[in-house]
Amino acid sequence: MNIWLNFLIDSLAFGATFMYGSTGEILTEKAGHLNLGIPGIMCMGGAGGCLMLNLVGASSLPPFLIVVLGILSSAAAATLMGLIYSFLTVTLRANQNVTGLALTTFGVGLMKVIMSKLNPSVYLVTPKVYYRWPFAGRQDSLQCLGVMFFLGLIIAAAASYVLYRTKIGLHLRAVGENPATADAVGINVTRYKYLTTCIGSGIAGLGGFYYVIDYMASQEAYLSLEAFGWLSIALVIFALWRPHRTIIGSTIFGFLFSCSSFITNLSFIQVTMALKPILKMLPYVFTIVVLIVSSVRNKRENQPPESLGLPYFRENR
């Protein structure tokens, strides 16, 4: 296979991390909640999954079960984080920005504490092969696409379908656009906000787990999760709040991240040490450019949900 195709597949695989993260964030934003806790949630998703694998990774359970248990446990840990966030911002109507940042502080810290206690030879070495099913063991670049990559694609597409093609999606978007209206027609605003925030968090958490156990599959991988969380939030703007578009956006991000390692491998480009930080800067600079471009071109349908960031209280006068 040629080198460029390898590059594309690697970008896709890397990008799945962001795909999970921003699909999750889109869901919560569509319910009117700007969740800046996504980095913490992704970290905890990673930690939750690894914690489970640390228990079952070396056991004699069938690989299939180990894979499922890891995914479920990762989603559960992230959902718990989402529950904290929902309780604070929905029920207690706390400021979303601050709550999100606090959640990130908490999540990143807790992940580090947990990960420092886990045994990589148990949670990582054996399970990572299971997660690469069906391509595990292949010599070509397809080997980096595993179950979780495809799961991510399905989730992103399904989220788009639900949001824009079903009645549940219609209700959800109404909640994010104008909760008073949604409330007045009998939609349970609180329930929608809770459920979407929790489900969105669960999905985002899988992104963290995917990166640690599958894409990177190294014991230091978790240290860069926080940055990916922030990028996932930024990607939402690129995707214009449509989950299926995160697939393209995240592939571009993946591409930009792979650049620094990839270019080093190209024989015809001489990479100096000083160039490396500049290359690593690319995804962030790209995000800034996207932000600017999207703010210059304004279209009504491409705006953030109208009540984003605002707490809802029915009797507000």
Binding site: L36, R93, N97, L101, T105, L110, V113, I237, L291, S295
Partner: protein, 372 residues
């Protein structure tokens, strides 16, 4: 309860209403209660995370002992706490003008780091060549300019295109990180990317190494309090923050205020960067600011964007931080424990505002009677 019979009148279990007034004293009571509750939960969380505690539950007292020891154990620790408080306070202060303008500057981390870079770059190139009396002011100037420019860039786009500043400033943090690592590669040819402590350009020691920093933070607090509440600029910031349309209506140039305020915000971050670079480290890493730029956001918010209140909130965070650091040292757990502890405490502090702003009415048992 069958459906066909007259349904029993039931109010919702809990019913909410917004408080119209609440005495400040009771508000502080609620906050104090949240603090105590938070400390208890922090203790429980630590209990779960620290194996030694689980093996010997009697040590739960040790936990709180270590906690207090962390900040107040020795006079050196106390000074260190005050120094940390001051640095965090300075960044929070830097953020405050922007926040009052509802410009969600999440880029204090990067702006401060650029400040450190400015100071250290001058120190690196001119240290030893220039007298200290010239070198240090130039370091200060460079730090302020670097920080200011880093704050100004997102403001330019906000003022011109209304570009989302939260994410822009956030990304600028990471760009700053890689700018620093770029310079580290250039400055440290060995490839280790760790710059040895520079010999020159150290902020003079008054009383001790920390006193001057604490003093500057204090002066900055008072200065900013006056600027925000009693100056025309401060007034314009409040008007723009409350309503851009009102500002336009009375002829305030909104872009000008945004640019000016973000320049100030960035410059103050730069100043803090100078305090870190020249006053403390005399070197730079990508972790020189160590996440305080984010913590400062919460300090400023919890302090209600009031510089005087922020002394208390940054104190709270640093006491927690240092206490938790002491615990992680005494009980040999990950150095990330302080983040967990601070995070838990923040949940309580953030959540308690609800009980100040809203009133809960529980279902009364004899609601029928109340109807008469």
């Amino acid at each position: 309860m069958t459906a066909n019979h007259t349904p029993q009148v039931r109010e919702p279990l809990v019913h909410l209403s917004r408080r119209t007034e609440f005495s400040p004293l009771r508000a502080w009571g609620v906050r104090l209660a949240a603090l105590v509750l938070g400390l208890i939960v922090c203790g429980l969380a630590a209990f779960l995370l620290i194996e030694k505690l689980q093996q010997n539950p009697g040590r739960i007292g040790d936990f709180y002992y270590a906690f207090i020891k962390g900040s107040f154990g020795t006079s050196r620790k106390l000074w260190k706490m005050l120094k940390n408080l001051s640095i965090l306070l300075c960044i929070a202060l830097a953020l405050t003008p922007a926040f009052r303008m509802r410009f969600w500057n999440t880029g204090a981390e990067g702006q401060t780091l650029m400040g450190v870079l400015g100071a250290i770059a001058v120190d690196f190139y001119f240290g030893g060549k220039w007298p200290e009396a010239l070198l240090i002011p130039v370091m200060l100037l460079a730090a302020i300019i670097f920080g200011g420019v880093w704050g100004l860039i997102p403001a330019l786009f906000k003022a011109r295109f209304n570009t989302n500043e939260t994410l822009f400033t956030l990304m600028m943090n990471y760009v700053a990180t890689f700018v620093v690592s770029y310079f580290l590669v250039i400055w440290v040819p060995s490839g280790s990317s760790s710059l040895a402590k520079l010999k020159y350009g150290k902020l003079p020691s008054v009383v001790n190494d920390y006193f001057l920093i604490i003093l500057i933070a204090l002066l900055l607090t008072i200065g900013l309090y006056i600027y925000l509440n009693y100056s025309k600029h401060g007034y314009e910031i409040s008007v723009v923050g409350e309503s851009v349309r009102t500002a336009q209506y009375v002829g305030i140039s909104v872009p000008k205020v945004i640019l000016r305020t973000m320049l100030l915000s960035g410059m103050l971050c730069g100043l803090t960067g100078f305090l870190i670079g020249s006053g403390l480290d005399q070197t730079i890493t990508t972790e020189s600011v160590g996440g305080q730029g984010f913590t400062a956001i919460m300090v400023a918010w919890m302090g209600n964007f009031n510089p005087l209140m922020m002394i208390l909130t940054s104190g709270l965070i640093q006491i927690l931080n240092q206490g938790a650091a002491q615990i992680s040292q005494d009980f040999n757990v990950s150095g990330a424990l302080p983040d967990v502890i601070v995070g838990i405490m923040l949940f309580f502090v953030i959540g308690c505002e609800f009980f100040i702003n809203y009133q809960l009415h529980f279902r009364r048992a004899q609601s029928k009677e109340a109807v008469r």
